[in-house]
Amino acid sequence: MSVVIIGNGIAGSTAARSIRRHSNAEIIMISEETEYPFSRTALMYIFMGHMKWDHTLLFEKSFWKKNKIQLIHAKVNRIDTSTSCITLSGGENLSYDQLIIATGSNPVIPEQHWIALRGVQCLYHRADLIQLEARAQCGIRHAVIAGGGLIGIELAEMLHSRGIPTTFLVRENSYWGNVLPEEESFMISRHIRSMGIDLKTEEEIDRVEGLTDVQAVITKKGEKINCDFVGITMGVHPQKKLAVEAGIECNIGILVDEYLRTSDEKIFAIGDCAELRRPAQGRRAVEAVWFCGRTMGTIAAANICGQRKQYKQGIWFNAAKFFNIEYHVYGYVPVRDDTTESLFWMDDAGIRSIRLVYDKQSCKILGFNLMGIRYRHELCEFWIENQTNLREVVTHLPLANFDPEFSDSFEIEILQKYNQQFNDQAFLLADRRLDDVAKYIRQKQMQ
């Protein structure tokens, strides 16, 4: 059997690795971007001088040869579904028994003529990083970032690390206000400003001025910001061009069933470029997140190796870092939802917070939102999955803590909030120990 994978991101690479674990199939992974798979999320650290390029490779270069996974550094021009064959940019044809499309995303770029000005760019591919580095070498006096998602703040942190004055335009009235609950969103907004970033809320680019190089940004509110760099970070959308041209059924992304199979039986689509035909309730059909890509990679691999496994979106989780504040979310954490309520605690410095979201009527735990504090994934998921009562969670909260040893503990504060809110006199029933976590979960299962 011959499996061809288009795209060497985390989805494609995981698929390749998982197939190799189950089978002796011939595996070919093709990428237009780089020779060896790397971690896209680490690009920022290269610019910031934390790491060099080689540190960001997913595996040592020899790994792929050792595992008999053939890497091809080329562009795929065409998929021919009738002959089960793809054409590379060099004109070479490769036939496949199973094909995985893992082409990832492309940044959203506004269709404006000024996008071609020198100094205007996105941050997504490795080429973007090289372009940014070249620009920074020439000296950036003032930068504007348009679009307030995760890539936006990463770009802000990168520019900040080089001492480049930066204006950050976000559409909402606070950073990531469409995803984070208000308190957290304002917390991060304050943190961004405390770093010396000029965060402008409810602002967007109207147009960019300049002849060959960018000279100024005019915002929707009419402000003119002189600058010599503009970062466009308005989100990403699935890269589905190859699939569309091959006649594979697409919508926003490449449509796939529970087995991650596209409308063509021999072709799978995974990662950012895939769109689920039947997403789980309350979940999006396209989830352009590292973890989803990785899980999809293992599921597609299992199906190719004949195991028939369904992709389940499971309990949502995500993590990020906003300058110095780490962010973790498990389960359902809405910006606003009247059927839910939450226990919320924030420290005095405003750089750490814990939010437990629960159902207003039943008091069952629904989600955790954490800033500057680490919680154990397995336990949070266990609690959410088993619809645990809030009181049970709050009294056992130390078990969930994943901060380094000797770290300050905030479980008691949450408990006090709980006691206040529910007029209760609950007390902590657990300690921060991994052994106890295992014991606790086992005990709960017995019941």
């Binding site: 934390h50 204006t167 010396g196």
Partner: protein, 452 residues
């Protein structure tokens, strides 16, 4: 809501603070200048003032510099520009520093007269330290006293820097306070105090086989000569090897020694911190590490057995082994050249743990315990790893932490000294040092059991 635009703050420091930076450097350099002039001028005057002046200048300058530098930056990971700076990325400055350090060790070990140590009286650098030596133990300084002072003082100053740098991670602060304490009290003050009381020099935390001469007959004879105290030293030394090492390693991993107590570890963690990312994390270097460190472990064990055999029977030779040759070469190649010259001299080229990783037989033994009988492990938090590589880059022992974390595995490696930096630099908070009896497979079983 319409928020006011804040005045732009340029995050890079300019103007006054840069002048303050330079002033701090000026203090450090003038302090070092005094030391250098005293050394190269080969002065022979006993001068308390010169000694104090140089020490105070360097100390104040260094502390001022750290306070300035880190006060400007909010608490968090401070790795910006590490790979852009030649000093910390094997640039020319790094190579020069490495040459200077290597040269200093060569002089120290084999040509002490160059720094002014004389049979009949000191001059130059060693002379400069005479006042402190007389103050502490009532006799003149030796090259080893000078080395001890510089070593302790470096750990102290760079330790303060480390504590400020990682002021948001309590584990790092406690650990650093601990290595500073053990260095100042157990490795420096206590032994010097013992000599002044006419007792044999002894560092109570220097455990065999790191202290490779512990079972040498001259050492045992010397201890026996000193009666009760000597017997206590021997008894304690054996307890350390037989009881303390396995028991503490079982509960906490080898970190209890390597990154909380040990002097070599102490220097690596503090003075070596700017270079920790230079340790290679390739599979090849791991292989070299395993061969080399276990070879040295076997050597030190063989040597010790042979030396005891010679002490017992009076015979130096057994089969093709000669106890004198074994220990002579070990002292020269491992005790001096590897642990000192290469161990510290190569910080700016191969990272801060060259000796601990490739050479230290104590680390090898602790590693075996850690691998086979310890609760210590680093766990990864669910599926949150984004394979960014910060953990592997900043692992001073060159462990490819990422390769485990991205698979969600526990990290149980013989070489891990439990410094906890992987956990600190992880931008997704994925890693945690734990002492636990359940491993990831058991935890997985428990969770899966729940799902059925």
């Amino acid at each position: 809501m319409n928020e006011p635009t804040l005045a732009l703050v340029n995050p890079e420091y300019h103007g006054l603070s840069r002048i303050a930076d330079r002033a701090a450097w000026a203090l450090i350099i003038s302090g070092m200048g005094i030391v250098l002039i005293y050394w190269l001028g080969n002065y022979q005057t006993y001068s308390v003032l010169t000694f104090l002046l140089s020490m105070v200048l360097i100390t104040t300058g260094a502390l001022w510099l750290y306070l300035l530098r880190y006060r400007r930056i909010p608490a968090g990971i401070q790795n910006n520009g590490i790979w852009h700076d030649g000093f910390t990325s094997r640039g020319i400055a790094g190579w020069i520093l490495s040459l200077v350090l290597t040269g200093f060790y060569i002089i120290l070990y084999w040509f002490p007269h160059v720094i002014g140590y004389g049979e009949n009286g000191n001059s130059g650098l060693v002379k400069l330290f005479d006042p402190l030596s007389y103050f502490l133990k009532g006799s003149r300084a030796s090259q080893w006293f000078v080395y001890g002072v510089l070593y302790t003082w470096t750990i102290l100053l760079m330790g303060v820097r480390f504590i400020i740098k990682y002021r948001h991670v309590k584990y790092q602060q406690w650990r650093t306070l601990s290595v500073i304490f053990f260095q100042v009290i157990f490795a420096f003050l206590l032994p010097e105090e013992l000599t002044s009381l006419n007792l044999p020099f002894n560092d109570f935390k220097n455990i065999w086989p790191l202290n490779y001469y512990f079972f040498f007959s001259w050492h045992i004879d010397e201890m026996i000569l000193h009666g009760t105290f000597g017997y206590f030293v021997l008894f304690w030394g054996i307890i350390c090897v037989v009881v303390l090492t396995p028991v503490l390693t079982y509960f906490f991993g080898k970190r209890w020694y390597c990154s909380w107590v040990c002097g070599c570890g102490g220097l690596a963690e503090t003075a070596g911190d700017p270079f920790r990312h230079l340790s290679s994390s390739t599979l090849r270097s791991w292989k070299v590490e395993r061969w080399l460190i276990h070879f040295i472990l076997i050597w030190v064990v063989l040597m010790t057995v042979m030396v005891l055999f010679t002490g017992w029977t009076g015979r130096a030779e057994f089969l093709f082994l000669n106890s004198y040759k074994l220990s002579q070469w070990y002292g020269f190649l491992i005790g001096s050249a590897f642990s000192g010259v290469i161990g510290v001299g190569f910080y700016p080229l191969m990272g801060s743990r060259v000796w601990c990783r490739f050479g230290c037989p104590m680390a090898a033994i602790l590693g075996v315990w850690q691998r086979k009988a310890s609760r210590f492990r680093i766990t990864s938090n669910g599926g949150q790893c984004i394979s960014c590589g910060n953990c592997s880059t900043y692992c001073e022992m060159g462990i490819d932490v990422k390769s485990y974390a991205q698979k969600g595995q526990d990290i149980v490696r013989a070489s891990c000294v439990g410094c906890g930096i992987c956990s600190a630099v992880c931008p997704r908070g994925v890693l945690r040092l734990e002492n636990a009896s359940v491993d990831i497979h058991q935890r997985g079983e428990i969770i899966r059991h729940n799902k059925i």
